[in-house]
Symmetry: C2
Subunit: 243 residues, 2 copies
């Protein structure tokens, strides 16, 4: 059995998320459906990160088992001819049997984009969170420093049953790019809705000019109600998974 | 009667074009419907350029007559609270009664965007024309030189009844921007589907390494069948109207 690994990009706007669900269009669903046409049998795919409804990916990683003689490059072409245009295979390789997109991953890089234009730009309505005010980038970066390292992120996530709340943040940086504010965050892995809760919390604290120590207090409280709102999914991108 | 002028931007992806049609969602339709809610009566809007289905605008200009005491700025806010997020009012002013968005316009600037990425980028599927090959920008600019000035553009347009085929092109320039090729064209006005026919023709000529004189021959033939295909609407943007 061969282990085929795909790097895929998708516009999450019309999807109910990555993970397959009954009566909903999902990225996993359209990929498995295209694969079934190629392989003439159903295969389940594995994936690196379960992105939520409306969240995008520039470099999601998925894998599947195949017995036939097609090369990875042939899978890429065949899938791109069958997949809807909002899901694209950027690259394909064959990996060792033990490679697993989620369990083998060492780091994940997510990006969150905020648009600060005076009027919401129609083209970015599904691709950035619109916040019509000036943002203190330096203060956001001071907050970011306080989440670097290993922490209990209970305050910043929707906990799943049996999931440990500790995660290690390697990098978190915010910068201005024209009318956009861009947050890049790299961690070993993320809890559910964690990036969007971090962004929502940082923006609430920044609006009220709260000191960076508040971030540490919120982490230590280990209570979701201590932190801010989960911002909208359209601004979030899974950029890259590192192995 | 006051003459209110709006600058609007829209994502044309889901619209059957600017102009109102029965049983189809149009930009004119949603703007007039929002205005009717504000003014409590139906008003017809006038517009600078009738963009086709799938074509976008960064600076379309529309106007309407109003009797009430709302300021232009209040119209902008009220409309943005009622319009769908893919149509936005960027600015509003009050103009002299004789101002007409189409007849008062002196120049129109359109942009056409081609994406040359190896795999089609899912985020740009409705916002750029995907052409997976290298493009000779210098050759395209040599073609562009030959359409500058006043010409009969019958070969490059879908003629409307009673429409004169002469148009004056002030500027036409092509440049590379990363993985994109961007064509900017400014004219006094355009015939229907003219920009997309020009782009389609230039790309066909360039693919076959035809000399710039072919453009002049095609213009002189004054026959639509002499020129190339009309490329897809998603790459086209009405950037700005000059008065």
């Amino acid at each position: 059995m061969r282990n085929i690994v795909l790097e895929i990009a998708y516009d999450g706007s019309r999807f109910a998320g990555l993970q397959v669900q009954k009566n909903a269009v999902t990225i996993q669903g359209v990929v498995e459906s295209a694969l079934e046409k190629i392989l003439k049998r159903f295969v389940r795919i594995k994936y690196a990160g379960r992105t939520d409804a409306g969240v995008h990916a520039l470099g999601q990683v998925v894998s599947f088992s195949a017995e036939n003689a097609m090369t990875a490059e042939q899978f890429k072409r065949a899938l791109n001819s069958l997949l809807p245009l909002d899901v694209r295979v950027l690259g394909a390789t064959e990996a060792a049997p033990e490679f697993h997109p989620r369990y083998s991953a060492k780091k994940r890089w997510y990006r969150y984009i905020i648009s600060t234009s005076e009027v919401q730009v129609p083209f970015f309505r599904n691709y950035a969170f619109w916040l019509r005010r000036s943002i203190d980038i330096d203060l956001l970066n001071n907050y970011a420093v306080n989440i670097i390292g290993v922490h209990d992120f209970t305050s910043f996530a929707r906990r799943e049953p049996d999931q440990k709340p500790f995660r290690e943040i390697f990098e978190c940086r915010i910068r201005r790019r024209g009318e956009f504010v861009v947050l890049d965050i790299v961690a070993n892995s993320f809890l559910r809705k964690m990036v969007r809760a971090i962004v929502g919390t940082f923006l609430e604290l920044e609006k009220n000019s709260e000191p960076p120590e508040r971030v540490t207090e919120i982490l230590q409280a280990a209570s979701r109600s201590e932190a801010g709102k989960t911002v909208s999914p359209g601004g979030l991108y899974l950029v890259k998974v590192f192995y």
